[in-house]
Amino acid sequence: MSALDRRELLRLLAAVVATPAWLEACGGGPDPAAVRATLAPGQPRWDRYRAVGERVLDERVVETRPRALARALAETLSWEPGTTVEAASERLLAAVRTEFAEGNVVAAAGWQLARTEARVLALLAAEPAARA
């Protein structure tokens, strides 16, 4: 993985979780279809993230309904019409770090995850549009 891959992945995650449900919840944002087009279907990395998200959903450690997840994320990331993918990914990184620092963590299969990180992964696994 190159030095900036994680940021790139987070950027893509931030964009792709801006699925129709999210966009509807917050009234706009980047076009998820366009962002998803930058990902190769079935990319192993993507599947890895979704596998964790499915476990998060199974264990119900965060909200499980896509709309509730999207709302919570939109609030945490201050997502509003016009928010760029880059800005969202920076906020996501910052939120994850802050939550860890504050001890705001949840567990999936025992793995300790920041709450926002878990929500992103859960939404990724839950939102049918993201599986396209």
Binding site: R48, V52, R55, R97, F100, V105, G110, Q112, L113
Partner: protein
């Protein structure tokens, strides 16, 4: 010289300046020092030069407790009763106690030693060669392993154990003690009781026995119990002909406050793989001046104080691919911010991950009800056997879990990795084992109301009786005890020599 008690006649009386009971790390270190200073020493050892089942079974008794359940084998499996003592099976990990281990903490009962780390520091320096390790001035930069995990973090630091070969004291010092004019090592000689004067203010003799029942006495100006953290208390408790609760036990403190280091399998850790950094935490990969050292993560003293946490060390062991936990690879990708690592190191080996098990060795609080007492059963020599009840409390459990969460928090906040915890409040003690470190049963305190021995390791109220070994630890910190046992023995040798010179023994 080495003498086998088999040649001693019934009723014989052996004499020396100092009688030391127990030929383990403390006893041998002490005997060498005193002998080198010209004191005549009788080192009274129950076993022979090799393991013998009959002698070992003198250790048998009952053991139970929070983690032990009903596992009486702890008493015979966690120590060895022959020349060299438990150094015959120790793993060689050496590290001093930390400054905070000696300090009083207002939020903790029974904290604080009557001495400070500075008082012991010169003896740690002298203990290092006795244990076959390099001086404790390890510089990570010298070994090329710096920087390390969580560098400059306020919550955790990397500290280093020095790894002894491990040195087997019986083998290493046998020839020296055989040749020593002032030291007689008396093998196969079991102390069955200490006999004191009518006021229980002075020990008059050691009542000794061979396994065939032959009895004889050892008389000395000064006596030192160096028989281990369980047996030191047992010997005081069974010496009850003058003080009914046991010699030196006027305050009912002998045998209480027993501690071991709970060793907890916390779970696993996923980190970016970085060869130099992770080799710091692997046994045998880092050396200094030919001696092996090994890094572990230690919770910072400031955080201990502010969060009311006990001292603890975190040990990382690499996992083989077949042992990887579920989702490990997935979480590893998620966890790591290589960009941050690039900033912190010129040499990240990006693209792969380190997966390891995460083990915690924690301090435990000294609980008065965690104790050894005497059972009704007697051993082959007619001495009452021990009953150990090793207890841990909610405070110990909470500290372990909160410390683990602090590691989760700090790694996550710095995008350095993720942790999988396989324990919680319900399951923690089931994932916990013991470390075979027997501490606290004759604790050190300035006054007799809080401890059995004083700052010089002399039993309160008994002018010519001292105790060596980890039974004197009033708190246990998180470091393995042998290094401190030897340092304290070297310090005791000086104090004892001064007492003999000054007529205070």
């Amino acid at each position: 010289m080495l003498v086998d008690a088999g040649g001693i006649e019934k009723g014989a009386v052996l004499e020396a300046d100092v009688a030391v009971v127990g030929g383990g790390a403390a006893g041998i270190a002490l005997a060498r020092e005193l002998g080198a200073g010209g004191r005549s020493v009788l080192l009274v050892e129950s076993g022979g030069l090799e393991y013998e089942e009959e002698a070992q079974l003198l250790y048998a008794g009952e053991a139970r407790g929070t983690v032990l359940g009903e596992r009486s084998f702890y008493l015979t499996a966690s120590r060895l009763r022959y020349f060299g003592g438990s150094t015959n099976h120790w793993n060689g990990w050496c590290r001093p106690l930390d400054a905070e281990d000696f300090a009083e903490h207002p939020w903790r009962e029974e904290s604080g030693w009557p001495i400070a780390l500075e008082d012991l520091a010169p003896y740690y320096d002298r203990a290092a060669p006795v244990l076959g390790i390099s001086p404790f001035d390890y510089d990570p930069a010298e070994a090329g392993v710096y920087p390390h995990l969580l560098r400059r973090d306020p919550a955790f630091e990397t500290v280093f154990f020095h790894l002894s070969a491990p040195l087997r004291f019986g083998q290493a010092y046998r020839a020296e003690l055989e040749a020593a004019e002032a030291v007689r090592v008396l093998l196969h000689a079991n102390v069955v009781a200490l006999r004191a004067d009518e006021e229980a203010a002075r020990v008059l003799r050691l009542e000794c026995a061979r396994l065939d029942g032959t009895r004889f006495d050892v008389r000395a100006r000064a006596y030192v119990l160096a028989a281990g953290g369980l047996e030191n208390a047992r010997l005081l408790l069974v010496s009850d002909d003058v003080q009914s609760a046991g010699l030196g036990n006027g305050r009912d403190l002998v045998g209480r406050h027993f501690m071991d280091h709970p060793s907890v399998a916390l779970g696993e850790i996923a980190l970016p793989y970085w060869r130099k950094m992770m080799s710091t935490y692997q046994e045998g990969l880092v050396r200094q001046r030919g001696h092996a050292v090994r890094g572990v993560l230690k919770i910072a003293s400031d955080l201990q104080e502010s969060e009311r946490l006990l001292n603890s060390l975190l040990v990382l062991e690499p996992l083989r691919p077949a042992e990887l936990p579920e989702l490990a690879a997935e979480v590893a990708w998620l966890a790591t911010d290589h960009a941050q690592l690039v900033k912190e190191s010129p040499d990240p080996e990006a693209g792969s991950f380190y997966f390891g098990s995460l083990q915690m060795s924690s301090e435990q609080l000294p609980h008065a009800e965690s104790r050894v007492t005497l059972g009704e059963e007697r051993d082959a020599l007619g001495v009452r056997r021990l009953v150990l009840d090793w207890r841990l409390a909610d405070e110990d459990r909470d500290s372990i879990l909160r410390t683990a969460l602090w590691l989760v928090r700090r790694l996550g906040a710095r995008s350095l990795g993720r942790v999988r915890l396989t324990v919680d409040e319900e399951t923690l003690w089931r994932s916990t084992r013991w470390s075979n470190h027997h501490m606290g049963t004759t604790r050190m305190a300035a006054g007799p109301d809080r401890g059995v021995v004083d700052a010089d390791c002399r039993v309160h109220g008994v002018a010519n009786l001292w105790v060596a070994g980890s039974s004197v630890f009033p708190t246990c910190g998180s470091s393995n005890p042998t290094f401190t046992i030897v340092a304290l023995a070297l310090r005791l040798a000086e104090r004892l020599a001064a007492a003999l010179d000054g007529g205070r023994a």
